[in-house]
Structure formats: structure tokens, C-alpha cells
Chain length 213, copies 2
């Protein structure tokens, strides 16, 4: 029945995946699972699963295992999926549109606005919202007070826009640009998603594998 004061980011990054697998088990109608069974499904060690979960509390029962439904709920609660941080989408290109269609209601966020500056895009409709002009960003933030920005703009636009957003009170970014927000702004939380980096890493691994064979 422990519960660590601060949990390492490695553990945190595994939580969404646990959540996903437990959701799957739930759908399959399985209501009890041991760390060993789960480890085989997920390709982890049972030890790691028990260690990870025990960072947050003793969710299992000796001799039995874990209750799928309640563990699923516990992880949802740990991740704060029941909360709703207001988020704005910045940049409604193809990537922005893809991000807009994520299942926000089960993510801990609420998408409250979308912005772009391209004439054809501003005024268009996106998941039930009208895309606004970035010129109106400050006015919008004044009333809606978003704490999060989903930054789907090119690197060149990211610097100025992130600064404006921070002035508007935005505290966290999901950053798709190659601009290093965290580096220039202390005290702001940034999760980077760099598609090009992932692609390059994939290429490296392919080349290494080829050398081996």
C-alpha cells in the first residue's frame, strides 16, 4: 500500500499503454489478470508491472491478481482522464486536423478553439468549431483561459506563437514543431512529438539490422 512521492517519467510514459491494454481486456470480458499474464500480453516483465503500479498504490490482491475494471479506472484517475484542461489547437493544416480528431473527452482535455492564419482555413469548420484567425488569439484566451496549446505549426511560426500563448497563460504544449519551446521557456511543460526524428531513428535501426544479417 505504498505510493511514491514523485514517480519517474519512464513509469508515467508506460501508463497510457497499460490503460489501453486494460481497456482491451475489459472489452474481452476478462475481469481478473495477474501481473504475469499481463506481462506476456504486453511484452514486459511481471516485475516491472508490479513495480510500476505500486508507485501509485497497492491495486492488486495477493493470490488473486488485479481486477481489470478497477485497475483500468485507477489508471484513468492517475492520468487525470476525468479532468478537462482547456486546450487550443494552433495550426489547422493536415496535422492540426488529425490532432483535432483525437478522442479528447477521454484524454483529460477539452478542445475549446482552433486557430490558423491562412485565408482559406480561417472561418472553416473543424470538429464543430469555426477556425479563428490567430490575430484574435489574445481576445479568445481572455475569455476561455486555455492552459494547453496543441502546436501544429511550422518551426518558423512556433517561436512567436509559443511566446504569445505563454503570455496568454498557456502552461503546457503538445509540440509538433522543431522549435524547442522548453529550452526558451522555463516553467512550461512540453511534450514533443517529432515525426522526422522518429523516421530517422527508424532508418538508423534498419541500417543496423541490415549490418547484422
Amino acid at each position: 500500500m505504498s505510493s511514491k512521492s514523485t514517480v519517474s517519467i519512464s513509469v508515467i510514459r508506460r501508463l497510457p499503454r497499460y490503460y489501453r491494454f486494460l481497456g482491451e481486456l475489459k472489452r474481452e470480458g476478462i475481469n481478473r489478470i495477474s501481473s504475469r499474464e499481463l506481462s506476456e500480453r504486453m511484452g514486459l516483465t511481471a516485475s516491472q508491472i508490479r513495480q510500476d503500479l505500486n508507485c501509485f498504490g497497492g491495486f492488486g490482491q495477493q493470490g488473486y491478481g488485479y481486477n481489470v475494471v478497477s485497475l483500468h479506472e485507477e489508471i484513468a484517475h492517475i492520468l487525470g482522464l476525468d479532468l478537462h484542461h482547456n486546450a487550443v489547437l494552433i495550426g489547422v493544416g493536415n496535422l492540426g486536423k488529425a490532432v483535432a480528431t483525437l478522442d479528447f473527452e477521454h484524454s483529460g482535455f477539452h478542445l475549446c478553439g482552433a486557430f490558423d492564419h491562412a485565408p482559406g482555413v480561417v472561418g472553416s469548420s473543424l470538429v464543430g468549431m469555426t477556425v479563428l484567425h490567430t490575430d484574435t488569439l489574445e481576445a479568445f484566451c481572455e475569455t476561455h483561459r486555455p492552459t494547453t496549446a496543441l502546436l501544429c505549426v511550422p518551426r518558423t511560426a512556433a517561436d512567436a506563437l509559443s511566446k504569445r500563448l505563454i503570455l496568454c497563460g498557456v502552461k503546457a504544449f503538445l509540440n509538433f514543431s522543431h522549435y524547442d519551446i522548453a529550452l526558451h521557456n522555463d516553467d512550461v511543460i512540453v511534450e514533443n512529438v517529432h515525426l522526422m526524428d522518429s523516421l530517422m531513428t527508424l532508418g538508423y535501426r534498419m541500417n543496423e539490422k541490415r549490418k547484422m544479417d
Copy 2:
């Protein structure tokens, strides 16, 4: 002048970022940099930079530092950015379209085909290519022999499509779906990009920070 036999994935995942920063320095006209200066720009320790680079060889010079242009080129070579793995894009939704517009020519890949099954999408044009029907996937692979798939389809389609692609000789995936390709297929290289996981992690970190203040 070392050069480790196998380099850890943590180091590899930092390489694209080094590459990016060196490109920036190059554009700024800076042709010499010490590990300390670079560490300050990147928010790392100088020690880590020297350790990382020395996994691949001694690229620096004592008393001088590193030559920006040649280090940039060395990293490009290490990542294999000069190679061209044939890649197919599977799924031409918003995400697929965003992926299609990545700068492939400087990534180590060549995009040779795009596939979807939606009537409105098949036959449309995408970065100079005509989107083909997934029914023609096997025939296409027979002639073009792609080794990589950029999988931009929903989870429900990912299982069947990844199996077909593997039968076609695809060895590596950039996987955006929530389906665990690597788990079901040994010997295939997978880089996962899970937008929802990143979003959930961001939310957790926001909640933690709020507790602290």
C-alpha cells in the same frame, strides 16, 4: 577514436536532435563549437554530448572542439540520411497527408506509394502521386519492393494491413495506430508514435505540477 559495437537506443534517439542543432549552427555561419557551448544551447551536459558522439568515433579535436559542418555530415551519415529506403504510406486521412509532406529526401527514405480504400480518396493526388487502392497493395509491392510502411490507419485496420505488408516484404513500420505491431511480429522494426499517449502524459505532468504549487 573509439566506436562502440552496439549503441544504446537512448543515444540514437538524441541523434536527430543533434543533427537539427548542428544544421541551425551551420545556417548561423558558426563553424566551430565546443561540447560546452553546444550543451548550453541544447540543455544537456557537455559530458553527455562527448559520450554520445564518442560512441561513433572521435569527431572532435582537443583544445578546439568540433567542426560544425563535418560533425553535421558525420551524423547524417550515421543516421543513414543519404540512403533511400522505399516506403509506402498506408492510410491517407489527415494524418497520412501530414506524414506525406515530411521532407523525405533528407530523412533516409523515399516515398514510393500511398494507399487508402475510401472511394473519395483513392485516385486523388498526393505529393505528386496518385493514391492507390489497398486492394492493389500486393501487386505494387511486387514491383516496387518497399521495405518500410508508414501506417496511418485506425487500430481496427492495422492488424490485417500490417500482416499483409509483412508478407509483402516490409521490414519496418512507423506506426501511428494503437495496434502493437512489434508484439505480434518478431523480426520487424517498429517506431511507435502515439499522439494520445503523449497527450495523456502531458495531462499527468500538468496535474502533478499543479499539486506542487
